[in-house]
C-alpha cells in the first residue's frame, strides 16, 4: 500500500507501520502544507506541474542588485520544501547563517500572511528538506560543487531535487562550466535555478534578454525577470514560461518580498 502523503517514514530497524495507522500530527502537517501551496501565488510560476524545472533544466531569476532575487528564490525553495522535495541552496560569499536568515524571514512572512498555527512546528518539519552550502566566490567551481554533491548523494545524506545557485557572477564567461553542470544535473535528476544579477546601465539585448543571459540562453529553459515598476516589483517571464492569463500579474510585495497576485 502506498503510504499516505506525510506519513512517517519507517526508521531503520523499526517495525513496518501497520496499514491502519494514521499519524494525526503528520496528517495535520500534510493538510497545512497543501493549504499553503494552494494559497501561495508562487505555484503559478510552476503551472500545473509540481516541478517547475524538470531534471537537467536550468531556470534563472534576473534582476538588479537588491531587487529581490534571493527572496523570490527562497519562496520557490519553500514551495518545493512544502512539496517535500529536497532543496540544496548554494550561496556564494554568504555565510550559512545569513542564508538561513533569509529562509526564516520569508517563512515568517508566509506564516503570518496565511495565519499558520504553531509555525515553529511546521518550520521544523520543513528543515530536513533543505541543505545550505556556501562557498567563497574565488573558491567556487562547478567541479568542486559536483564533488560536494556527490559526497552528499552517495552517502544518502541529502539527495536534492532542486538546486539553487545564488550569487554566481554571469559577467564572466560561464558557458563551459554551465554546460558541465547541466550534464551533471540531468544525470542526477536536478532542476537548477540561478540568480542572475543585471546592471542598471546596460541595455537589454535582442528580445529583451539581458546581456548576462544572452551568451548562455540556450542552456536555460526558463527565465524570470524582476522589474521594479513604481512601488511594485513585477515578476516577468522572459523565457520558457507563460503565466496563466488569470494570474499574469504577479508582483513582489516590497514590504514582505512575498509574491502577490495582483488579480486577487
Amino acid at each position: 500500500m502506498r503510504p499516505l502523503s506525510g506519513s512517517r517514514p519507517a526508521a531503520a530497524g523499526a517495525k513496518p507501520p501497520r496499514a491502519t495507522l494514521i499519524f494525526i500530527k503528520e496528517r495535520y502537517f500534510a493538510m497545512l502544507k497543501t493549504d499553503l501551496i494552494l494559497n501561495n501565488p508562487v505555484q503559478f510560476i510552476g503551472g500545473q506541474s509540481e516541478d517547475v524545472l524538470a531534471s537537467g533544466q536550468f531556470g534563472g531569476v534576473l534582476a538588479r542588485a537588491g531587487v529581490g532575487k534571493t527572496a523570490l528564490m527562497v519562496q520557490m525553495a519553500l514551495n518545493a520544501m512544502l512539496h517535500e522535495r529536497k532543496v540544496l541552496h548554494v550561496s556564494l560569499n554568504q555565510p550559512v547563517n545569513k542564508t538561513n536568515l533569509w529562509y526564516l524571514e520569508v517563512f515568517g512572512h508566509v506564516a503570518r500572511q496565511y495565519n499558520v498555527p504553531q509555525p515553529e512546528l511546521l518550520w521544523e518539519s520543513l528543515l530536513p528538506h533543505r541543505f545550505i552550502m556556501t562557498f567563497r566566490t574565488e573558491g567556487f567551481s562547478v567541479p568542486k560543487l559536483e564533488e560536494r554533491l556527490t559526497d552528499l548523494v552517495e552517502q544518502k545524506i541529502f539527495v536534492p531535487r532542486m538546486l539553487i545557485v545564488d550569487g554566481l557572477s554571469f559577467d564572466e564567461p560561464l558557458r563551459d562550466a554551465l554546460a558541465g553542470l547541466k550534464h551533471y544535473a540531468r544525470l542526477n535528476g536536478l532542476g537548477v535555478w540561478f540568480t542572475i544579477r543585471t546592471h542598471r546601465h546596460e541595455d537589454p539585448g535582442p528580445g529583451g534578454i539581458p546581456k548576462q543571459l544572452a551568451d548562455v540562453k540556450d542552456l536555460f529553459d526558463l527565465a524570470l525577470q524582476l522589474v521594479p515598476v513604481g512601488e511594485e516589483i513585477l515578476v516577468k517571464a522572459v523565457k520558457g514560461l507563460t503565466l496563466p492569463a488569470e494570474h499574469a500579474h504577479l508582483v513582489l510585495d516590497p514590504s514582505t518580498m512575498l509574491v502577490k497576485d495582483r488579480a486577487v
Partner: protein, 695 residues
C-alpha cells in the same frame, strides 16, 4: 593601592579554543611585570601557563575555571579575567562578561572567526561589552589578518577597523605598522620586551597609507572635528583619532583591530596601549541594579566610592582557608570589618579578609572601591548573589543560566570517598550554577548534571584530584522530557469514605500545550464549586505531577492546566483530598493529551579540512543529525548541524579518528524536540527493564 577610577580597566579575554588566550594573558602579565618568567600552555618546561592554576588545566592545555588577576601597565590598573574557551564552560564566560567593562576578542590569524568566537560575540552583545579584536598567531603558516577582518565584518557584523598592519607574515612576521603614528614597530630582545620604532618599510608603505585612510574614514563617522580636519586637509593629531575611535568603540559601533603573535612576543604591548586608550573605565559604563522594594525598577548605579555599597559575587572557589568569593564592586566601597547584607538571603555578613587576586596568589588589601574586582574570604554565599550596604534593597540583574542537558550517576568507592565526594559536590554546585546534583530516590544513586560530556568529566577528575574522592561514573544520560501535544479534558472525582475521616474532591477542566513555559495554572472556577481555600491545593496537586511524567517518568514541561468546575463536601473535603483529585485529574487528562518524549538537540559545529568533509557529514548523519549547512572556507570547511545529544557521546574520539585529529567541534544546547517513534519505543523498553531491576 591607587584609586583613580579613570585609570582602571576591567577586561576579559575571550576567544575560540586554542586561539591563544592563555598565552596572551601570560605575555601581558610578563610585560606588566606581574610575573618574571614566561611559560607556554603546553610547554616543554612542564610548568604550564601562570593563569592555568589548576593542575588539570595545565595537563590538558585548556583553561577551565576563569582566574582573576590584576596588573599595571604604565599608570593603568588592569583587572583581567581569563575565560575558558570550551563551550561546555560557557557559564564562566557569561559570568565574566557580566562583570567586565570591556573585552579583548582573540582571533586566530589562520582560523579566523570560528564557531566559539560567534558564541562569545553573542554573549558580548547580550551584555553590551565593548571589545578590541586581537588577531593572534600572525607568525603561523596560512596567517591572513585581513581575511579575519573581513570575517569579523561579514560573520559577526562588526564594523572592524585595522589600527595596524603586519610587516611580513608567517615566518617573515617581524612587527607591525602602527597606523595612528604611521611608524613601524618591532619587538626586540629575547622576550620582545624592547620596542624599536622605525620608519615604515617601503614594501608596506602604500598599504599602510591605504589602510590609514580607511581607518580615518571609519573614525571620522564618530567625530565632526575629525571629519572637518580630514575635509580641510589639516594635520590630524593622534589624540583626535583616538578620541573618535574610543567613542565609537564604547558604543560598540566600531571594533578596533590590532594584531601580533603572543607566542612570538610581538604586538602585546601595543594591545595594552589600545586597552588603555580605547576600552572603557568603570565610569564609562552604565550599570543598573533592580530595586526589589519598587517592583524591580532599574536603578542606575554610580561609581562613587562614597555611595552605599552594591557588589556582585560572580565566582566562588574553595581554598584551603575557606571559600573565596570573587566580587565586583559597582557602587561604594567594600572594606574590611564592614557589615554588608546578602540580598538573596537577607543575612548580615561581617567582611573579614579582603584580597586582590593574582591567579592563585593573593594580596591583602583594605578595601575594594567601586569599579574594582577583588575577593573576600569566609563569606558564605552562592555565585550571582548581590551584596549591599544595610538599608538598600538592590539586586544586580540575574545572569542567564542555561539548564543542564546531560547527567550521569556516580558512586563513591568507599566511605572516605563518599564524604569527600559530598564535600566536592557541595563546592562545585555553589561555584557553577550549570552543574547540578541530586540523589535518585529510587536507585539511591547520586546524579550529576551539566552542560556536556567534558563538563562532567572535568568535575569527576577534579573530585579525584582535589578531594581524593574516588568515584565510578555510570554512562551519561540524556535529560529527556515529556510534554503533551493536544488539548484534553479531565473530570476526576476523588472519593474515599471507608472508615475514619473521608476524602472528597472533584476537579474538572482541561490541559493544553503551551510554549516557552514549563507550567501554567489558570483558575476559571466560578460560583464556588471548588471553594477558594482549596484552589491552591489543586495547583499543588497538578504541579507535583510535573516532576515525573506518567508516560516515562521524565519531567513534564509545557502544560497549561485550566480548571473550571468541581465539587466539594462540607465535611470530607480537605487540602489533601483536592491534591489527590488534581493528581487523578492530571493522569486522566495526560494520556488523552497525546504525550510525547522530547530530547535535547545540540547545535554541533565541526571545523574540518575540506578533504574530510564527506566522512564528517556522514558521521553526523549516522547520529540522526540534520545538517543545516556546509561552509567552504578554503582549506577548512565548517559544517553546522543539529544532532540529538544522546547520539553525541564519544563523538570527539570518532571525529579524531575520522580526520586524523585535524578537525574540532563545538556543541551547545539548541532546543528540545520530539524523539522519533522508534527511539521512543527503545526508551520505553529500557525504562521497563530498569523498573523490573529496581523491583
Amino acid at each position: 593601592m591607587k584609586k583613580d577610577i579613570a585609570k582602571v580597566r576591567n577586561i576579559g579575554i575571550s576567544a575560540h579554543i586554542d586561539s591563544g588566550k592563555t598565552t596572551l594573558t601570560e605575555r601581558i602579565l610578563f610585560y606588566t611585570q606581574r610575573i618574571h618568567a614566561m611559560h607556554d600552555v603546553k610547554g616543554k618546561d612542564g610548568v604550564g601557563a601562570f593563569m592555568d592554576s589548576m593542575e588539570l588545566e595545565r595537563e590538558r592545555g585548556i583553561t577551565i575555571a576563569s582566574a582573576a588577576t590584576f596588573c599595571e601597565w604604565k599608570d593603568l590598573e588592569i583587572n583581567i579575567i581569563d575565560t575558558p574557551g570550551h563551550v561546555d564552560f560557557t557559564i564562566e564566560v557569561e559570568r565574566s562578561l557580566r562583570v567586565l567593562d570591556g573585552a579583548i576578542l582573540v582571533l586566530c590569524a589562520v582560523g579566523g572567526v570560528q564557531s566559539q568566537s560567534i558564541t562569545v560575540d553573542q554573549q558580548m552583545r547580550r551584555y553590551k561589552v565593548p571589545c578590541i579584536a586581537f588577531i593572534n598567531k600572525c607568525d603561523r603558516s596560512g596567517a591572513n589578518p585581513f581575511r579575519v577582518i573581513d570575517q569579523l565584518k561579514d560573520r559577526l557584523g562588526h564594523n572592524a577597523v585595522a589600527l595596524q598592519i603586519p610587516i611580513g607574515l608567517e615566518n617573515d612576521f617581524t612587527g607591525v605598522v602602527d597606523l595612528l603614528a604611521m611608524k613601524a614597530v618591532y619587538f626586540d630582545g629575547e622576550k620582545g620586551e624592547t620596542i624599536r620604532i622605525e620608519e615604515i618599510p617601503e614594501t608596506v608603505r602604500e598599504l599602510a597609507r591605504t589602510k590609514r585612510e580607511q581607518m580615518l574614514d571609519a573614525a571620522s563617522m564618530f567625530s565632526d572635528e575629525l571629519m572637518e580636519a580630514i575635509l580641510e586637509e589639516k594635520e590630524i593629531g593622534t589624540d583626535l583619532i583616538v578620541a573618535a575611535l574610543r567613542k565609537a568603540t564604547l558604543s560598540r559601533q566600531l571594533t578596533p583591530v590590532v594584531m601580533g603573535s603572543a607566542y612570538k612576543n610581538k604586538g602585546v604591548q601595543l594591545l595594552l596601549d589600545a586597552v588603555n586608550s580605547l576600552l572603557p573605565c568603570p565610569t564609562d559604563v552604565e550599570n543598573y541594579a533592580l530595586d526589589t522594594d519598587r517592583d524591580e525598577t532599574p536603578v542606575r548605579l554610580t561609581s562613587d566610592p562614597e555611595a552605599p555599597l552594591v557588589a556582585l559575587a560572580f565566582k566562588l572557589e574553595d581554598r584551603t582557608y575557606g571559600q573565596l568569593t570573587y566580587i565586583r564592586v559597582y557602587q561604594g566601597s567594600l572594606s574590611k570589618g564592614e557589615t554588608i547584607i546578602n540580598v538573596r538571603t537577607g543575612r548580615k555578613i561581617k567582611v573579614g579578609r579582603v584580597v586582590r587576586m593574582h591567579s592563585d596568589q593573593m594580596e591583602e588589601i583594605e578595601a575594594i572601591p567601586a569599579g574594582y574586582i577583588g575577593a573576600l574570604f569566609g563569606v558564605d554565599c552562592a555565585s550571582g548573589d548581590t551584596f549591599v550596604a544595610p538599608g538598600l534593597s538592590l539586586t544586580m540583574t540575574s545572569m542567564y543560566v542555561p539548564k543542564p542537558v546531560i547527567s550521569l550517576a556516580i558512586s563513591p568507592k568507599d566511605h572516605k570517598a563518599e564524604i569527600n565526594m559530598s564535600k566536592a559536590l557541595n563546592r562545585f554546585t555553589k561555584e557553577d550554577p550549570t552543574f547540578k546534583t541530586h540523589v535518585n530516590p529510587e536507585t539511591n544513586e547520586t546524579i550529576i548534571s551539566g552542560m556536556g560530556e567534558l563538563h562532567l568529566e572535568v568535575y569527576i577528575e577534579r573530585m579525584q584530584r582535589e578531594y581524593s574522592a574516588e568515584v565510578t561514573a555510570g554512562a551519561p544520560r540524556v535529560a529527556y522530557r515529556e510534554t503533551i501535544t493536544q488539548r484534553a479534558d479531565f473530570d476526576y472525582l476523588h472519593k474515599k469514605q471507608t472508615g475514619g475521616s473521608g476524602q472528597y474532591g472533584r476537579v474538572s477542566g482541561w490541559m493544553e500545550p503551551i510554549a516557552d513555559q514549563d507550567f501554567e495554572f489558570d483558575n476559571q472556577v466560578v460560583g464556588g464549586s471548588i471553594p477558594t481555600q482549596y484552589i491552591a491545593a489543586c495547583e499543588k496537586g497538578f504541579r507535583d505531577c510535573m516532576a515525573k511524567g506518567p508516560k516515562m517518568e521524565f519531567p513534564v514541561t509545557g502544560v497549561k492546566i485550566v480548571i473550571n468546575d468541581g465539587a466539594s463536601h462540607a465535611v470530607d473535603s480537605s487540602d489533601m483530598a483536592f491534591q489527590q483529585a488534581a493528581r487523578g485529574a492530571f493522569h486522566q487528562g495526560y494520556f488523552k493529551a497525546k504525550p510525547v518524549i522530547q530530547e535535547p538537540i545540540m547545535k554541533v559545529v565541526v571545523e574540518t579540512p575540506t578533504a574530510f568533509q564527506g566522512p564528517v557529514m556522514g558521521s553526523l548523519n549516522q547520529r540522526r543529525g540534520m545538517i543545516v549547512g556546509a561552509q567552504d572556507e578554503g582549506a577548512l570547511c565548517v559544517i553546522e548541524s543539529q544532532v540529538p545529544l544522546a547520539e553525541m557521546f564519544g563523538y570527539s574520539t570518532v571525529l579524531r579518528s575520522l580526520t586524523q585529529g585535524q578537525a574540532q567541534f563545538t556543541m551547545e544546547f539548541l532546543a528540545y524536540r520530539q524523539v522519533p517513534q522508534s527511539i521512543a519505543e527503545q526508551l520505553e523498553k529500557k525504562a521497563a527493564e530498569q523498573k523490573k531491576k529496581v523491583a
